[in-house]
Point group: D2
Chain length 293, copies 4
């Protein structure tokens, strides 16, 4: 298994709930996954930020992880997100994902107390020691309360066996140049901040992790392709067209927006879990407009 | 039951673990609680930041909540901390604490996605609707990823039945003046930022939530008393003496420092849970010195 | 000459302008200075933030410095503010103030490019080498674009001959405790952030630099006296009464608010210089109300 | 006169000083300007950040403005930077630049007190009313203490006659997309943050304001050309090669680095003015290495 398999559009699948009982709706989850693959997704990311990973109990988390992997069934690689407060729980989930066939895991150091680099390093080390699939180090200071510098993440990749890739969601394009520069292009990195997608791909990002395909189908993939084939004008037009939607997603929240967007497309994935609230009807109307790019 | 019972030193009890198996060590927990009451604590706060609330599983959380309340046995009031990502889980824990005899709950809106004021308001409302004990609204942007303004917290106190008190941990003394001013002194507020304890009490704080009594015994209570009886010089001397320790606690982390300090006092509460790391031996030596104020 | 002379209320005099021609109105400046001394000011600070130091040309600056010193005529000590972009200009102004009889200078490292600690140190050293009066090191990150830590300022006081006092305007009460603690109470420090005045005095501040006496007369002095004589209840009442005004001053701007307030008191000091705009009529009405505490 | 003339590399000329007497060295200034034009600069920016605009007295400022315009002598357009604390002085300098033949002015709202959008708007309006050449609105929060949003700058362009272009130096690539998007591509914007030059040009920036040509000659121009002709691979290689130097410039300071770099190239432009310090010898050695890209 090689991280080389991860490139292009890494599409987040969301976690649908039944409205009647707030249980995970596996059928709709499958529908969403199939839809993503149809839109050209190069990989599926289950239990990422958009998948409400932080809001599921253990049984639900395992169900979603297992069923996502099973249902994708090797059509594309699957990466499972792990964002846990304790090292113990993170290791458990990593082992579970590994055992059930995930091709990689995407690990962010979710924090209550601020963590030192030493503490973060050992957290990743413990996870790596327990598995045999690649780890994507995921930096998302806005949600995780921890900000890892490019230099620190690269040092983990150098020193921790399965740490092989980086996902950068801080929105600072400069960090992508730094990763590219300092690793001499040897470390694959992925963009996790929707509204700088074109900049990131131009800066050498191997792929783009995004929930956007659930809202605008093949457009993200077309953008990736245009960059890959050096059609810069085409890439700019494609990006420019989807930018307002990408900004909307980040501003209104990935989970709530994705579920509202799926509803607009007649896929009822329920609402994001409280305290997250569904979009207001004004916002839904705005979203509907933005989806017809 | 009235929030008037909460004033003075609200001492955090920590959650001790056995070193052999990482299980909650209830006997040591009892010893720590007794020690806090002996040091003059006016109330016990179980499952606060220092209690590693974020790092316990459901069974552990319930065990600690239940046993804390039972063991205190009305010697002083007990407040139970609730810092959950989902409203559902927060409500469950609030109901549990209420049912098992907690005198109040201390609720912070722990977040993965940023929350709007609407979302936070409904979170507190849902909790209030499920219980019949007072809620202390707890603002701690550094750990919870959400920063609530004095005006917003006061509006919740005005509009949500059981929201009655505020705990401010941002470290900004100006906010305490604002709470005092805007509520015309009618809303009890508590300081949660150790190193501004004297400033907060002088600014009208009803009490101080702190883990310090586990390290320096009666000194925090003496400081509170000196302020209460208007012995400003005495208060300044007491504060000045304990300030370096208070700064150390905040800098090195409440849970890790408290456990290191208890070990120095020959109480083995185990280590904080990974990824949190124990203090280095240098830091332990520094702490030992600071504890002999 | 000893810095011991500086304590209590260091009142800012503002720089009045004629409305007809935007020239400095020396007569009104004298009137304002006399008024401040009548209100109990223990020292006059000319050309501070409130004095629009940054908005005067060389001739104006010299005029205000010289005439302030002359007019005070040793009734109380005078400190002259120096906030210059180049070391050369700062030295020139320091020498001018020294030569014309200032009792001290208050120096902040105004910056365009961010400055290193080395650069700031040498800036203060060069000024110190050129004069023989005390320097008050003035930290005001909001206006000056540079934030000096307590430890760095204390190191300058230890190593630079005439650096003897600190003025802290960051609004972070914790820094005052740190200055007090690290200097073992040997370095006089002054509060420059109006709305934490009581906290700062309780934390050991030697004085309070403020424009408030131009708006509310003797009240700041009464607050200082109450703290000095350990009448904590009285101090709290006095502070609580003037707090809304102090918050207003900081929010709306020292120079604009002071001039609006003087106009309410029938002293026409003109407007602050553009781009600063005068208060709107709504804000003036709000100010008028706040001035009748 | 049209802003269309401004595009490509807008090269900053620095302000050289004689070491013996700290006077402006006009001959070296001419040499630097000629050198920039030889390196392919499409325009010269005099008295920008790199030109130490904030550190010159009135006579020096006028000398540099006048002589820069004269010496360029229409070989390329000249834009003069204006970064003044008072509206009055900004207008004076704008009028001076206009009268002496500048093709445009680049105006940033340098601040001591924080400015409201109203105050900033009127500042630009007053300048526009006094001149008949285009204004480039220059946002540089790090040096100027004011941060203008894309929406606010676009509103000024819509409403203020001579406000026609934007220079963005915040380093946030997202703002460039927003400017492009919200203006539907009708407002020319320029990048002022060296290390995101390629991203900015890809995002539609009309040009890049930079001091880099003084250090690495034609490379910035080659980068601009590669982007213009859609040679993305070539652009990435060029950018990647000069990126470490661009990062160094921003980190160590434009004026100090430019003067050190010119010295390495045997052009003695003196040092930046104190409190700015020259690069240490270690940094000079590092710079020398980076200049041989």
């Amino acid at each position: 298994m090689s991280n080389k398999e991860f490139s292009g559009i890494i599409a987040y699948s969301i976690t649908p709930f039944f409205r009647k009982n707030d249980q995970v709706n596996v059928d709709v989850m499958f529908e969403v996954i199939d839809d993503l693959i149809s839109s050209g997704a190069n990989a599926i990311a289950g239990l990422g930020s958009a998948g409400e990973c932080a809001y599921l109990n253990d049984d639900e988390w395992q169900l979603v992880a297992r069923q996502t992997i099973n249902h994708v069934a090797d059509r594309v690689p699957v990466i499972i997100g792990i964002s846990e407060l304790t090292t113990k729980k993170a290791v458990e989930r990593a082992v579970y994902a590994n055992k059930h066939g995930a091709n990689a895991i995407m690990v962010s150091p979710f924090s209550y107390y601020k963590l030192t680099e030493d503490e973060i390093f050992d957290h990743y080390q413990a996870i790596s020691d327990a598995i045999d699939i690649p780890i994507m180090i995921y930096n998302n200071p806005a949600t995780c309360g921890v900000d890892m510098s490019p230099a620190f993440m690269l040092s983990m990749i150098e020193n921790i066996e399965h740490a092989e890739m980086i996902k950068e969601s801080s929105g600072d394009i400069q960090r992508m140049h730094t990763i590219q520069q300092q690793s001499k292009g040897t470390v694959p990195f992925f963009n996790g901040c929707n509204y700088i997608a074109l900049d990131a791909l131009n800066a050498g990002a191997t792929g783009w992790c995004t929930v956007a395909p659930s809202l605008i189908g093949e457009l993200p993939k077309q953008l990736f392709n245009a960059v890959s084939t050096d059609e810069q004008q085409q890439a700019e037009t494609l990006f420019s067209n989807q930018l307002p939607l990408l900004q909307f997603i980040v501003k209104e929240g990935l989970a709530s927006t994705a579920k509202a967007g799926l509803a607009i497309r007649d896929i009822d994935a329920g609402d994001a879990r409280l305290p997250l609230k569904p979009l207001t009807s004004d916002k839904k109307a705005e979203l509907e407009l933005l989806m017809t790019v």
